[in-house]
Structures are given as structure tokens and as C-alpha cells.
């Protein structure tokens, strides 16, 4: 006898599939209303796929084709960043971008881009060679001119996704991880039944923010209604280098090449923690789980970046990674409601991170058709700020540590992270449960030693806080545990 079938399914006003930056932003935006909401992700943490492997840029919006959804969402999203990041205590620096023209042909392209920027409502300025090199002395002397976009910025994408999800949970959203949606079927009463690897739910509205897999979900949901759909996500891989934070003055703006057919081209940018990011490549791949880096592609990435910044110190390279852009075959964002109660957010490739906050507002507008929206008077847009010891003045730090001794215990010396900060990252709503989860929230493992010194301590703290054995603590998801078994204990012991 299957008892679960006899009990009514847990039901929600809205189920959001995918807890990347898009799903998390949607969950937080919808939490402003009196709604019961469920945010689902098949991974062990929020924001582990495309949201964790991108350029970490808040684009100004000079580049997308005027009138496109990409242009609209980019520009609107950009404007929402400063206030949202203040509310959520997320690292954001509006450092501006420089798009370099190298050679006469590219100078002409800058004029086109400036015209496009004007149509998109984005302030830009064309800088002379001398002015560009005054602002960025380490750029190639071959630069002829540059397009300066003062409203471009950099954000910590891990922190943004976590903060959006954490704030959503604080405001009543249910977050369930390690739970994969296997079927979405419309019921006769207009609701959807969402079946997952762990159970089933009923919902009045389904928001499909499933990233690389949003096409499968959308097509299947429509097929259940007897409708055929041909959404198709074509993953396009971007490979990157990460450099250590060796000199905050080395490069101060995000440096772009002029965009090409393939995308925005190669960039060199500081991150919010003073590291430097070089990349991305743009190659289609036929597998949605192909995150492998390759020598050939990275060599090309480095060569392209050296055309912008010839003196990139390759000794400072500490990591390579690859991310997959969820490109819909038509090349445009898809934000639609093809059937009652179904909202698709597909093909949210670059500038998806920037657009995330605006896309969430679009979902608010669309979901009104399915669920009545009533303001939630208890909604609190603020996240409790994090204690960031590394940025405190010495006396403030001394005073804080005197009150909170575990913040005196330094776990990661590369990034200056204390045990207290790690424990906080685990205990918060939407807290870390994996070594990578801790790394993304408070940075141990991001430094030069790549976790060589701090990882055993992070494993120890996670095990203690979660009440698990150290050998049960994964790097990222179940199946990625770091330790095998205690020495001296065997199966037949």
C-alpha cells in the first residue's frame, strides 16, 4: 500500500524550478506577495551551474540589439543592481567598462556601438588613446580609442545567488535541494502536478528557470497538454582563467574586445575581491555536462587577452574553469507564458546575470494571470549583513573578535577567513552544506593554495555543524566526498 498516494499532495501557489540566479531572483521577487512558494534545484546548493561560472559582470547594456528582450532586460536589470545589492549585502562595484578599438576598423565599430548605446539608453563616452592609457596604463599601446561605459560593474555572482535565495527563504519561500523534477503534468482543475525525484507537489503556477535543461522541461510540460514545442538550448562553453589578487591597480575597469558574432569576445576584468578573470571562449558543445577545459581553447583565450593587456602575469594564474551558456537556438531570451500557469525563462545567456533582477519583475507581471497578487506586509528586503573581517579596520576587528572568539580563529590564510565566518555561512537560511558551498559564500579555497591548507578545517567544521561524519562531507554534490574511510576501520571489522 502506498500511503503517499492517499494523502493530498503538498500544494503551492508557485513552484520555481531551478535555483540559479534567475530562479532565486524570481523567488525573492514573488516573496513580496502573499504566496506559498517552492524553489527547487537538483543540485546540492543554489547557483552551482551557470550562475557559478560566468564573467561576474553587470553589463551596462550598450551592446544588445536595440528593442530586443536582451537589451530591455539588461538595461532594466543594471538599474536594479545598486539598491538590491545594498539590501542584500552583496559585493558590487560599478567600475565601468572599456571596450577597446585596436586598429582603424574597430574605431568605426565603436561609433556603431555608441549609437546602439544611445538607442538603448545607456550612457557611454568615446575616449582617446591617450585618455584610455592614462586610465589604464597596462593596456596595449596599440589601442586606438575605447568606449567607456560608466554604468558597467562587477558583482560577486555566488554571493548574489545565495543572498537572493537566503532572503527568499527568510520571507517564507521553501527551498528544496537535491531534488530533480521528473515530470510536470497539468491537472483537470488547471493546476500542475510536479513530480520530482523525492515526491510530488501541486501548484497553480510553474516557473521554469531550469537553465541548461529549461528546454526539456518546457517541451515536456507542453507535450502533456498535447502541444508540441521546439524550445532548444544549445550549450555554449566559455573557458576562463582566474588570477590571484596580486595588484589592485593592475587593471581597474572591465576591458572588452569589440563584440563579434560569437558574443562579447574576450574580457579581462577585476573581480569584487581583486582577483582577475580572463575569458571566456565561446564554443558550442553537444553535452550539457561538458565543463572540461582544454589546452587549445585556453591558449587562444590567453592570446586574445594578451592583445588587450600584454603584461598579464601568467605566474599569477591559480585556476581554470568552464561554464555553459544556455543559448536558446533563436539566440534571444525567451520570457513567455505559452500556457496558463506556465512561465518559461529560457535561453538566459549573457547578459543573464545582469538581467536577472529585471526578469524577476517580468515574472511578477506574468504570474498575475494565474495567481492573484496581494502585498506581503511582512516582506523584509534586507539580508542580515555578513561580518567581513578582512575589510575591518584593525581596532574594529580587535573589538569584534574580543566579543566573538571564533572569529579570531583564521581558517584560510590566503583569503583571511575565520571559523566564525564559516559557521555563519553554514547556519544561515540557505546555508552551505558542501566544501564548495562554503567556498562560494565566504571564500576559503579561492586563494593561491586552492584549499591545500584550509580544506581539512572546512571539512571538520561542516561535519561538526551538520552533525555528519567527515567522510560524508562532499566537495560539491553527493558522490564527490573527499575522504573515503577511517584508517583502521574495514568492512569486516
Amino acid at each position: 500500500m502506498n500511503r503517499t498516494q492517499e494523502q493530498p499532495l503538498e500544494s503551492f501557489d508557485g513552484v520555481i524550478v531551478g535555483a540559479g540566479v534567475i530562479g532565486a531572483a524570481v523567488a525573492r521577487a514573488l516573496a513580496r506577495y502573499r504566496l506559498s512558494l517552492l524553489l527547487l534545484d537538483r543540485e546540492s546548493d543554489v547557483g552551482t551551474v551557470t550562475s557559478a561560472a560566468n564573467s561576474a559582470i553587470v553589463h551596462s547594456g550598450y551592446d544588445p540589439v536595440p528593442g530586443s528582450l536582451k537589451a530591455k532586460m539588461n538595461v532594466a536589470g543594471n538599474r536594479l543592481f545598486p539598491e538590491t545589492c545594498r539590501q542584500l549585502d552583496v559585493d558590487l562595484k560599478m567600475i565601468g567598462s572599456l571596450t577597446l578599438a585596436i586598429g582603424d576598423e574597430e574605431v568605426a565599430v565603436l561609433d556603431e556601438l555608441a549609437a546602439r548605446a544611445a538607442q538603448n539608453g545607456v550612457p557611454v563616452e568615446i575616449l582617446s588613446r591617450a585618455e584610455v592609457l592614462r586610465r589604464e596604463p597596462n593596456l596595449t599601446p596599440e589601442v586606438r580609442a575605447a568606449l567607456f561605459a560608466p554604468t558597467a560593474g562587477i558583482v560577486n555572482p555566488f554571493e548574489l545567488t545565495v543572498a537572493l535565495a537566503e532572503n527568499a527563504v527568510q520571507n517564507g519561500v521553501t527551498l528544496r535541494l537535491n531534488e530533480e523534477v521528473t515530470r510536470v503534468a497539468p491537472a483537470p482543475d488547471g493546476w500542475y502536478t510536479v513530480t520530482t525525484s523525492r515526491g510530488a507537489y501541486r501548484t497553480r503556477a510553474l516557473v521554469n528557470a531550469a537553465g541548461l535543461h529549461a528546454d526539456t522541461l518546457a517541451n515536456a510540460a507542453l507535450a502533456e497538454r498535447g502541444r508540441s514545442a521546439d524550445y532548444e538550448i544549445r550549450p555554449r562553453k566559455g573557458e576562463y582563467f582566474v588570477l590571484d589578487h596580486f595588484d589592485p591597480e593592475f587593471i581597474r575597469h572591465t576591458i572588452f574586445t569589440v563584440p563579434t558574432q560569437k558574443g562579447k569576445g574576450i574580457l579581462v576584468t577585476p573581480t569584487t575581491h581583486g582577483n582577475y578573470l580572463i575569458g571566456p571562449s565561446a564554443e558550442f558543445t553537444d553535452r550539457k555536462d561538458n565543463f572540461a577545459t582544454t589546452d587549445e581553447t585556453l591558449a587562444r583565450v590567453l592570446a586574445s587577452a594578451q592583445k588587450l593587456v600584454p603584461s598579464i602575469p601568467t605566474r599569477q594564474i591559480i585556476r581554470q574553469f568552464a561554464g555553459l551558456r544556455a543559448v536558446e537556438k533563436r539566440g534571444e531570451f525567451v520570457i513567455d507564458r505559452p500556457a496558463p500557469g506556465l512561465i518559461n525563462l529560457l535561453g538566459i545567456q549573457s547578459p543573464g546575470l545582469t538581467a536577472s533582477l529585471a526578469i524577476a519583475e517580468e515574472v511578477v507581471n506574468l504570474i498575475r494571470n494565474d495567481v492573484p497578487l496581494e502585498e506581503n506586509p511582512d516582506f523584509d528586503p534586507r539580508r542580515r549583513p555578513r561580518v567581513r573581517l578582512a575589510r575591518m579596520a584593525p581596532l574594529d576587528r580587535a573589538a569584534y573578535v574580543a566579543e566573538h572568539p571564533s572569529f579570531g580563529r583564521i581558517v584560510c590564510r590566503c583569503e583571511d577567513v575565520s571559523e566564525g565566518e564559516i559557521v555563519d555561512a553554514i547556519r544561515r537560511p540557505c546555508g552551505a552544506t558542501t566544501v564548495d558551498g562554503v567556498k562560494k559564500r565566504v571564500r576559503p579555497g579561492f586563494g593561491k593554495c586552492q584549499g591545500g591548507f584550509c580544506q581539512p578545517q572546512v571539512v571538520r567544521i561542516l561535519a561538526r555543524e551538520l552533525g555528519r561524519k567527515p567522510e560524508e562531507i562532499p566537495l560539491k554534490s553527493p558522490g564527490t566526498e573527499i575522504l573515503l574511510e577511517r584508517i583502521g576501520e574495514t568492512d569486516d571489522a
Binding site: I318, I410, L475, L483
Partner: protein, 427 residues
């Protein structure tokens, strides 16, 4: 800033790191009459990396006895305990200010500062990582540095792999090949990019040959495969320019890849302070007193340059401690702008040569340390001052894996200034 609020204490000497180098430095400084000495150690116990080196082979030079790492550390600590030295563990140094205020943090101590007349940096080395050597492919669990695996096995008591491959024939990698095997793991091989091993000969014999573990010279890992846990590596032969040789790919089904691909002196504190760094070693530029470009700041052990034996690290630490004592006692001899100096430069065949600067008027004897770039047999070392040969030393063999020492008496230097070069030549 009001120093009191930061709980600033005053010492004659602050030693950063309680590993082989730091313990020896503090001990030697105390013997030389320095009174107020503080050692700051980031871990909860003193001993540094020695604590995870449960194999033997330590102490042959210093104690004429074969000890394990923890035993060797205990020897050093028992000497230290007889002296008046303040040892604080669980205290991570975060910065050194130009006026030698050492700021540190610990659960027991809070965030506070120690002002010193002199500072000895003995902060050890970091292991080179996968990212630093850019191995392409997937990013699964099961890829880690050999030293991290050693920490997990010997300090925490956990196995890290069942079917293991090791990249790099550095000593830690060789030691871990044996350690994994003894705990029931299967080591399928050790690969070395160079055409010769980077580990000590005794470790090749005792850790690989005794267990029939193959060593693949001129090979490297060209791809890592695995979605969650490591599943497979692709090994490939390289030519003399380190380019992959087509058709030599071999795959190994392994769940763990340990990396023993070199150590890099750990010098974030000194870098941030603006100490001049040596382009070859990754450590600071020092003179014969192991003093860095900032007077009163000394460096020793693996944070100065990577050593093969802990005994030599201790000896260098003692030297740093003695010199710091002389500095504190104002007997070191201040370096004035016009005092003559000899600058050292590695010549043909020499990877690096330390110290970088010699003050001929300040010492009776100099200890030069160097490594060769590749293995040599039956060669001569030529020591030249300003291009003129001053000394020729025959060597039956020279190996990159073994740091060489060369003593030079003051009277052997024909002039007190100029450039001293060391090169390898045919006998």
C-alpha cells in the same frame, strides 16, 4: 591608532612559524642572549609540516639518528622548552607593518599585535596546485595535492583513494606512493615531466622500487576525466620541449590523482610588506645573514627556498636566529650605502644561487646554497669573481633534486666587491 586598544606587546624577536626553521631560529636566538622571544604558529600544535611526516629519515645530519617527523619536531621542542620562549599556537599572522608590528589573530588571543626589534619569517611553502600547472579536463573530486592527502591520512586518519596515480616525483609524492600502498590503496604509477626524478634517490628506491610502482619519466597528465569522482586520467609522453608526443596516450582508471609538482615559498606577508623577492626561488632576496631587503626582517627555511631535508632547514633557521640576535644586539653591522658588496649570480647550469648579496667585511665565512638545472656527472663547479676564476671544485655528480652547499672563506675572495658567479663546466 592607539596601540593599547590593539593589545600591543613588545618583544625583541618575533618568529613567524613553529616548524623546523622557526623553532631552530628561536632556539638559536635565545642561545645568543635574546631575552624576549615570541613564536607565532597558525596551527594548534607546534612542529609545522613535520607533524604529518610520519615516515623516518629525519635527523641524520643534525642528530646522527634516524627519526620520524614528529620525533624530530619533539627533539626541537624539547630544546626550546628549556629556554624562555613564548610559544603561541593557533595564532595566524595576518600582516607585518613597516615598523615591525606583527598583527595576528587567534581564538585564544583575539586580534592583536606584537611589536619587535626583529622578525624572522619561517612560514614554509605552498604546494603548486592543479590550477598553477593548468591540467585540462573535468573538475571532479579526487584530485588533490600530495601534502593535503598526507594531512588527511596522517593527521586526520582517513584514506583518500583506492586507485591512485601520482603526478610529480617530488619527495612528498614518492612518500605518499608508499603511504597509500601501505594503507591498502593501489598506486598505478608516478609520472614526472622531466627526464629525471625530482625526488631523493633513497625515496625512489624505498617508496617506488620496493613496491613495484612504475615511474614514467618525461610524462605528464594531459586530461582529467570524471563527472563527480575522478574516473580516468590520460597520461602522455613529452618531448624535450615538453610537447606531447603523438600516439603515446595511455589511460588509467583511477579514483584519485595526487599532485607533487613542486613547492612555492609562502611569502604573502613579506610581499605585502614590500620586501624584494628573488626571481628564481620565490623567496625574498637575502644577504649572508639571511636578512631581507628590509633591515631586521630575516627569512629562513622553505619560505626562503625549498629544501630537501628538514635538517638543513633547521640549520638555516639557526643561522637566521643567530643573525637576528646580532641585529637586536646591534652587532650585525649596519649596511651603509657605500659598504662594498658582492652580488651573486647563477651561471651556466645553475638554477639559483643564495644568498644574493655577500658583505665581505662582515663575515669570515659564507655558505652558498644552490641547485643545478639538470643532472650532471663528472663536472666541475667554477666560482668566478668579476669574471676571474677563483675556485674550481670537482663533482662526481650533481642533481636538481639535491640542494648543494658550498663554503667560501673570506680570504678566498680576492676583492670585497663585484659579481660572484657559479657555473657548471666540463671537468
Amino acid at each position: 591608532m592607539t596601540p593599547d586598544l590593539l593589545k600591543t606587546e613588545t618583544f625583541d624577536l618575533v618568529v613567524i612559524g613553529a616548524g623546523s626553521a622557526g623553532l631552530a631560529a628561536a632556539s638559536a636566538a635565545a642561545d645568543a642572549g635574546v631575552e624576549r622571544i615570541l613564536i607565532l604558529e597558525k596551527e594548534d600544535f607546534p612542529g609545522g609540516i613535520l607533524l604529518q611526516c610520519v615516515h623516518n629519515g629525519f635527523g641524520l645530519h643534525r642528530y646522527e639518528q634516524e627519526l620520524t617527523g614528529p620525533e624530530y619536531a619533539e627533539r626541537a621542542l624539547s630544546e626550546l622548552r628549556r629556554k624562555r620562549i613564548d610559544l603561541r599556537c593557533g595564532a595566524m599572522v595576518l600582516s607585518i607593518t613597516p615598523d615591525k608590528e606583527v598583527r595576528y589573530s587567534g581564538e585564544k588571543y583575539g586580534y592583536r599585535a606584537a611589536r619587535a626589534k626583529s622578525v624572522v619569517c619561517a612560514t614554509g611553502a605552498d604546494e603548486r596546485t592543479r590550477g598553477a600547472i593548468r591540467i585540462p579536463g573535468d573538475r571532479p573530486a579526487g584530485v588533490m595535492t600530495a601534502g593535503l592527502a598526507q594531512h588527511y591520512m596522517n593527521l586526520d586518519g582517513y584514506t583518500v583513494g583506492r586507485r591512485v596515480f601520482i603526478l610529480g616525483s617530488g619527495d612528498i609524492g614518492l612518500i605518499m606512493a608508499r603511504r597509500v600502498t601501505l594503507e591498502g590503496g593501489k598506486v598505478l604509477g608516478v609520472a614526472e615531466l622531466m627526464p629525471y626524478s625530482n625526488g631523493l634517490a633513497r625515496n625512489i628506491a624505498q617508496c617506488l622500487n620496493d613496491f613495484d610502482i612504475p615511474l614514467y619519466l618525461s610524462h605528464t597528465v594531459r586530461e582529467i576525466r570524471g563527472k563527480k569522482r575522478l574516473e580516468q586520467i590520460v597520461l602522455s609522453q613529452v618531448d624535450e620541449n615538453f610537447a606531447f608526443v603523438p600516439g603515446t596516450d595511455k589511460t588509467f582508471d583511477v579514483d584519485t590523482l595526487l599532485l607533487s609538482v613542486g613547492l612555492i615559498p609562502s611569502n604573502r606577508l613579506l610581499t605585502e610588506l614590500g620586501v624584494r623577492l628573488h626571481p628564481k626561488t620565490g623567496g625574498p632576496v637575502v644577504d649572508e645573514t639571511l636578512q631581507t631587503s628590509i633591515p631586521g626582517i630575516f627569512s629562513c627555511g622553505n619560505s626562503l627556498h625549498v629544501h630537501d631535508l628538514a635538517d638543513f632547514v633547521s640549520m638555516e633557521g639557526e643561522n637566521a636566529g643567530r643573525c637576528a640576535a646580532l641585529y637586536i644586539q646591534e652587532k650585525l653591522g649596519a649596511e651603509s650605502g657605500d659598504s662594498p658588496v658582492v652580488r651573486t649570480e647563477p651561471g651556466a647550469g645553475i638554477g639559483y644561487l643564495l644568498p644574493s648579496v655577500l658583505h665581505a667585511e662582515r663575515a669570515e665565512e659564507f655558505l652558498l646554497k644552490f641547485r643545478v638545472r639538470k643532472p650532471y656527472r663528472d663536472v666541475a663547479l667554477l666560482l668566478k669573481l668579476n669574471g676571474r676564476l677563483m675556485k674550481k671544485i670537482k663533482k662526481p655528480y650533481l642533481l636538481p633534486a639535491e640542494m648543494e652547499n658550498l663554503r667560501l672563506k673570506k680570504e678566498e675572495l680576492p676583492e670585497p666587491s663585484g659579481t660572484l658567479t657559479l657555473e657548471v663546466a666540463d671537468e
